[in-house]
Symmetry: C2
Subunit: 532 residues, 2 copies
């Protein structure tokens, strides 16, 4: 029934999907344990939804909705119902809250880590299955809830060893952006398409700078490859007003201008920035908001600024200065369901890449307020706000800075009992030896391949085993009772490189490999595993 005769199947993953080995898994788990602890410190509790939902329940809120299949994997079940793999963790949470509304505490703080799926063209660092680690508060309309989410995002990054000044939580407000759109004549349903073009242009400010964005707001822009992107067709005065609004107002830029250096280069040994606590901020969110106040007078715009002002007061009161949680009008966030404050967690440091050129990791998470998402299922409004960490990208950043949190998290290999004689009785005896080690809580395995002694020792090395146990027939039948040879593979490897002139060479050799009665196996192996 096995298709061995047919043409061979291709052993490959579809593009955009990856396997993870034990080192990857241990590193991710170590990182996620830290995040989980911060979420729980903030009173959030775990909940998990399945990967599959009714397509209708998920709705269509992905960015770039103009593409044909809207980025979602969908299929029919055997009842001919359309199902989809979730594309984020927020839409399923909204369904969950609506479905279990009565039994949940309100406000409902919850967190979840989970894989999400996008049917998109994969690219470097862009996967079709990736993990998000979200926390959300449902049922709280106050900017206090948004403030809390921002503080929690900051605390997560610090719990991972990313120092203040090496990251920033940027905050904007969809109401502010909507007000700006109205002000420049792009309000209303009829302008949805042009609004999208403008928002995408704003989103590229970091990468293209003001001139690039100005081109995209006007007639369009030709990129380095010669491709032309059509612009939003805004007249010059309106584009100028928009760029004035976007003008950078956060401390990094101020410092770059004034001192000519990046802010984290001025941090003290602990990675903290002098004068960056709540009482001595470099610039302030209040002054950012002040400078934005007079630009437009749309009520929505002003309401959005009020909320941002509240949010900043709460975060600063709790000890998070503008250098940590920073109002920044250029933050857009692509998802369509946001209705109020939006957040973006950015790493601001650079590390040398493989080619020596500096890499900046940029955004490792984001979120915002989505007051309409639960209301899709219920006849009443249910305010909600949340944050999502991009697990893979954050992990890549931690690895790049050689964070001790994700390095060396792998367990050492098991004790390997060599199989020198392969007759049934010998193998049964080896099984007994291995079982005695396991029963004592020592990870151990019997070599089950077909290689000889050298291959078996090489295998143990490959498993990063510390100890090998060897028993040939002579030892098993020794006159004084069965013996085993116990070898310290680490010490053995060092000895092999050492010169024999060393005064302690013989002593070391005795410690690296010795014979012992079989009855002492567990005890002697444990000694070897615990010694330096």
């Amino acid at each position: 029934m096995i298709e061995t005769d047919a043409a061979l199947a291709r052993a490959a993953l579809p593009r955009g999907f990856i396997d993870r080995d034990s080192a990857d898994l241990a590193a991710a788990e170590a990182m996620m344990a830290k995040i989980r602890k911060v979420y729980e410190l903030y009173g959030f509790e775990a909940v998990e939804t399945p990967f599959v939902e009714y397509t209708e329940a998920l709705g269509k809120f992905l960015p770039d909705q103009d593409r044909p299949n809207a980025g979602v994997f969908s299929f029919k079940d055997d009842d001919e119902q359309w199902l989809s793999l979730r594309y984020d963790l927020t839409a399923p949470l909204a369904r969950y809250v609506a479905e279990h509304y009565e039994k949940l505490p309100k406000p409902y703080r919850s967190y979840r880590a989970g894989w999400v799926f996008r049917n998109e063209k994969p690219g470097p660092g862009r996967f079709r299955q990736f993990m998000q680690f979200d926390a959300d508060t449902v049922g709280a309309a106050s900017p206090a809830a948004d403030a809390e989410i921002c503080m929690m995002a900051a605390d997560c990054l610090e719990a991972l060893g990313i120092a203040r000044g090496d990251y920033v939580i940027k905050v904007n407000n969809r109401k502010v952006l909507d007000g700006v759109m109205e002000a420049i004549g792009l309000g209303g349903e009829a302008n949805a398409g042009r609004r999208l073009v403008v928002l995408r242009a704003i989103d590229k400010l970091d990468r293209l700078g003001p001139d690039g964005v100005r081109a995209l707001l006007g007639d369009g822009r030709k990129d380095e490859s010669g491709d032309f992107t059509k612009g939003a067709g805004l007249e010059k005065a309106k584009a100028d007003a928009l760029l004035d609004f976007l003008q950078p107002k956060f401390p990094q830029d101020i410092l770059v201008t004034r001192e000519g250096g990046r802010i984290h280069e001025q941090s003290d040994e602990a990675g903290r920035i002098p004068n960056a606590d709540a009482n001595h901020v470099v610039g302030s969110n209040a002054s950012t908001i002040d400078s934005l106040r007079h630009l437009f007078d749309q009520p929505k715009y002003q309401e959005g600024l009020d909320e941002l002002s509240n949010l900043a007061e709460f975060t600063e009161s709790a000890g998070f200065s503008q250098s940590v949680i920073c109002i920044d009008p250029s933050v857009v966030r692509g998802l369509e369901y946001y209705t109020g404050p939006v957040f973006e967690a950015e790493l601001t440091f650079e590390t040398p890449g493989e080619d020596g050129r500096p890499i900046r990791f940029g955004s490792v998470g984001g979120g915002g307020r989505y007051d309409g998402l639960v209301a899709r299922f219920r006849a009443e409004p249910v305010p909600a706000t949340g944050f999502s960490i991009g697990v893979s990208r954050l992990l890549a950043a931690l690895r790049a800075i050689k964070s001790p949190i994700v390095a060396g998290t792998e367990a050492p290999g098991p004790v390997v009992v060599l199989a020198l004689d392969r007759d049934e009785a010998s193998m049964a005896n080896y099984q007994r030896l291995v079982a005695s080690l396991r029963r004592a809580g020592i990870a151990a395995e019997l070599y089950l391949g077909s290689g000889g002694m050298n291959a078996q020792l090489k295998y143990a090395d490959r498993r990063q085993s510390r100890v090998a146990v060897i028993q040939g027939s002579n030892e098993r039948n020794a006159p004084g009772g069965p013996q085993v040879t116990i070898r310290d593979l680490k010490l053995g490897a060092e000895l092999a490189k050492a010169t024999k002139d060393r005064a302690d060479y013989l002593e070391l050799r005795k410690r690296a490999q010795f014979s012992a009665p079989e009855a002492e196996l567990v005890e002697r192996v444990r000694e070897m595993l615990t010694r330096e």
Copy 2:
């Protein structure tokens, strides 16, 4: 952009999918940590593959292949390639090993927990997304590898507090079954259909007994609902030979017959069965094999028995008697890719169900040897064997026996700081109080809903919080500096029920709620959290 005006979306999961709350997640994690530890004790290392594979890579090995879509969720990506959600963890592992063959240690022992998907009609205890926790050894042809898998399965169940005698690992061999099929004239490709009918009949021995199986082997059987299942049409002599082969030979049945009681009723206090260690088995696998030897003489049949004999010698030598790992010719396992030994882990105890009638959980996992699965991708044979635990069903069993491993694994709720005044300045001040608790490592949250004091205290109860912190404007503006009220919610609840005649009532009341200077908040809350 939110569809609030449209008809409400339905807040429901598709059938066969479930949400998991924090208690479910904590219980599952506690159980899986125990299993993980046993797998690692046996030298297995973690690896993880994605949920999506090329449909071709997964192959079609599900039982009941006669159904139209073969039980798999499949869809096309935007490159028009057919992809599928994995239906088990074994087919993806085969792809993984084939893809990364050169860099893997061989034999390659690995484990993985993961969700799998079946596009089937869901039912009680039958889900369309469920979790398996697998361990596999690839590159070892010896029955020693199968023996190890069986021992590991037994050790997993014991690590979960399931005593010897309350479970059994049943072992059979596909070669033995194939030999029997040849002997009764059902060998060869032409008989594949009838063979499947016979194997399904055998698989129902537990449920239907010998007479029910005899009917299914012959003309067919009408069940209690009146539905008729067509039989395999075997002539009587062949059906008799098959039933003779299936005759129960494992100790439970012997004990049921001889003593009239279930085996675990005879266990000692520690749940162990007297005389059930390696030297004093009740019956033996050797005698089972002896009694099977003479039934058929097909070479494949005899080869299968040889392998089972080897396997039993290895497990018994390592201290696992027949009462734990038991040769049982009635074990079938539905998946089509098995080629040698097959295993089934069964819980043998009963617990009273909700209606008082006893429930037997039965199979909680299984596996077997699949020597052809990696070979689908490579031009050389790669032997492999493995085991899969059904996480949900095992968890349900542990909950039914009120296992301490999965009970009470939930963390207590956070400290709740009440929000009595909702002006901006007060809220900022509450945020500062909450932040100081979190900074001291105490899980804490600010109440962010719209309820009054009673609603807020009720919320804290619902979160299972131990402590509430209260500060009204009088306390904040107290003449000697700001004060807070700290309330022990557990003690408070007890006091509310206690009579005031208690000698220590006033003392208790003082401990249940008191005022303290704001500066002592962290210290006093910590005292309250750590006291009895």
